[in-house]
């Protein structure tokens, strides 16, 4: 699993489309919002948690179809399926690699962009924490969606339609935690639910992903 993780990270760095793409998309979406809603700082501060979460959701979505598609096309996936690595391990590793190349950079960049949106100062810690807890779930659910659509031509759009509804709980509790933090309320409940969703997806979805991959490899 370590070898696969290192290979995926190396490919993301060398082939491009990994670290930079999602992050640049995140930046552009967040910067576009003030142009759309106007320079009302009070309004921007109020919608900042939602904007930051929706933007990170879309940025994570951007690179999902590459998770398995490239390995499927060049035959690596079939070779991995006959290797001693269990498919569940492959799914888990792929999700982890996706999180490191997408979720982690988004989490680190989000506070800077929160400043652009006039986010309340007391909310920064919760923004960071909620993204740290929530983005792994985005990668894991996305990996499941990528497994479902691997091998389909133009599966990218179908992947978005399948995955975005599944992102709803993460979005609700993630944005809620930041909003409560900004309003000076206690966000513990939302953060715990967010962590619970992530833990649940990592417990169940590797098995589901492995099952759909085996079917798609036939």
């Amino acid at each position: 699993m370590k070898a696969l993780l290192l290979r995926d990270l190396r490919l993301a760095v060398r082939a491009g489309g990994g670290f930079g793409l999602g992050l640049a998309f995140f930046l552009i979406v967040v910067v576009l919002v003030p142009f759309g809603v106007g320079p009302d700082t009070a309004l921007l501060g109020r919608i900042a948690p939602g904007i930051l979460w929706v933007a990170s959701l879309l940025a994570a979505l951007l690179s999902l179809d590459r998770i398995f598609a490239l390995d499927f096309e060049d035959g690596s996936l079939a070779l991995l399926a006959t290797s001693p690595l269990p498919m569940e391990g492959v799914a888990l590793t792929k999700a982890t690699a996706h999180w490191i190349t997408t979720g982690l950079p988004l989490t680190i960049a989000a506070p800077v962009l929160g400043f652009l949106l006039n986010l309340a100062p007391q909310a920064y810690a919760y923004l960071l924490l909620s993204l740290l807890l929530g983005t792994p779930a985005l990668s894991m659910i996305g990996t499941f969606g990528a497994g479902l659509t691997v091998g389909l031509r133009r599966g990218g759009l179908l992947l978005s339609l399948l995955v975005l509804p599944l992102y709803v709980p993460t979005l609700i509790f993630g944005a809620e935690a930041v909003r409560r933090g900004a309003d000076g309320l206690d966000p513990t409940g939302a953060l715990m639910l967010l962590g619970g969703i992530t833990a649940g997806t990592f417990a169940l979805l590797p098995f589901a992903t492995a099952a759909v991959l085996r079917i798609n490899l036939r």
Partner: protein, 208 residues
């Protein structure tokens, strides 16, 4: 080492081969012959465990099967050495024997070892794909047209490796090919095993 009995395999839910029986002993090669579409690839994928069997049994030591097809699984952004090392790491073989220079020499890749996978020609990629078989340490090889896009000299090199390194060390192989590899091996013509057009396997078989 490998024994197959009463095997029925299907492509897209339709049975293509029925009641295939053969066995391969350590140090032996079996060459699969038959016209296009007879089911050579389907049979090899079924043997490798990539698709379920409709009927019958396949028996070989667990975790000893390796599959290779025309898709070599080479990453364009990794060098020849990195590609090989990745597969060795995934299979947990620690480069004890054969060593990396030996494998590179056996497949004539020594001069290419630092080139990126994406810059190799079709034949060079094929050689790298076959070199993978040497580093993963599997005994039972299922090879689907291993010599496509190889020149005559490389075909001979591959046959030499198979005979001197793989078979001599107790490995075996099932190879689907249309050319003469120069190996003294029994051939199995799949034509007699062709499934009758109306044989079972409903349309939902593909999903079960």
């Amino acid at each position: 080492m490998l024994s197959v009995s009463g095997l029925t395999c299907a492509r897209g839910g339709v049975p293509v081969l029925s009641d295939v029986c053969f066995s391969v002993a350590p140090g032996e090669v079996l060459i699969l012959r038959g016209p296009n579409g007879i089911g050579k690839t389907t049979l090899l994928r079924s043997l490798a465990g990539l698709q379920p069997l409709l009927e019958g049994a396949v028996d070989y030591p667990e975790d000893q099967g390796a599959y290779a097809s025309h898709a070599d699984g080479i990453k364009a952004a990794l060098t020849v050495t990195e590609n090989l090392k990745f597969w060795a790491d995934v299979h947990g073989t620690a480069w004890v024997s054969p060593t990396l220079p030996e494998v590179l020499a056996a497949f004539d890749l020594t001069d290419l070892q630092d080139r990126l996978g994406g810059t190799l020609s079709a034949g060079q990629k094929r050689r790298l794909g076959l070199a993978r078989l040497a580093v993963i340490g599997r005994k039972v090889l299922f090879l689907d047209e291993p010599t496509v896009s190889l020149d005559g000299f490389s075909v001979k090199r591959f046959a030499d490796w198979l005979r001197d390194q793989h078979l001599a060390n107790g490995g075996c192989a099932v190879i689907a090919t249309h050319i003469d590899l120069g190996l003294e091996a029994p051939e199995l013509d799949l034509t007699p095993f062709k499934s009758a057009p109306d044989s079972g396997g409903g349309s939902d078989q593909a999903f079960l």
